[in-house]
Subunit: 119 residues, 2 copies
Amino acid sequence: MYICPMYSSELIKGTLKTIVLKLLSETEKMYGYEITQKVKELTDSKIVITEGALYPLLHQLEAEGVVTTETVNIGKRVRKYYSLTQTGNERAKEKLYEFADFMNTMNILLDLKPGVNYV
Amino acid sequence: MYICPMYSSELIKGTLKTIVLKLLSETEKMYGYEITQKVKELTDSKIVITEGALYPLLHQLEAEGVVTTETVNIGKRVRKYYSLTQTGNERAKEKLYEFADFMNTMNILLDLKPGVNYV
DNA sequence: CAAATATACATAAGAATATTATGTATATGC
DNA sequence: GCATATACATAATATTCTTATGTATATTTG
């Protein structure tokens, strides 16, 4: 289920966890498929999360106690909701802060104009 | 030669090529060690490029015709200068444009205020 | 002047994170 | 009825980086 992402995959690498934590931090609970669709929608299909990357990450976050799960039956199908724990909320803030700082550093390094559209 | 980088390495992943191409695009020629020092200096040691990552990348870029090399003897030591080819200059522009666009997308996705300091 | 640190290259083993492919199954639109 | 969408999962592979190691010369400092 690969739909030509706009960016060379290198760039997206490493941002997935930050994206997932951010979305969960503002929506109480979300299920995997929902996350992929939300990201696709918000980025106009520029970033497309693959299942092979997302599900293992979610499982890892659960094992770390960052998220808890709740399985709901939708008709005969199963849906697995993820929500942040208290630890998860802190982790989300840390990750967002780190990313913002990283972007500042990259702006300086690459000499991009902060502010307006970088494009 | 690992000097605790400020960011979790995940984030830096994928940006190395962009950084190197950017530096080479504004300095005619640079050698590997010089690149590591310049990045350290410009980022206040927040981003530290390791040799194990840099040298293989430079070799790859040369193999792709993105850079050409010039070996200079400094005393009894060898220094290998890298400079962008014409193809390399275009590649650098593409990479920078892509990265700027990626940052915009991430700003929207993560709901960070564009403009001022993201921190 | 000896030892530590800095300069300068290179590569190999291993870890982390993603892609691609595959599998299973139900639901919906045409 | 068939294609597409929803919804999960995992395994094989690829990519990119860290860590470690190796070689060698130059400079600083106690």
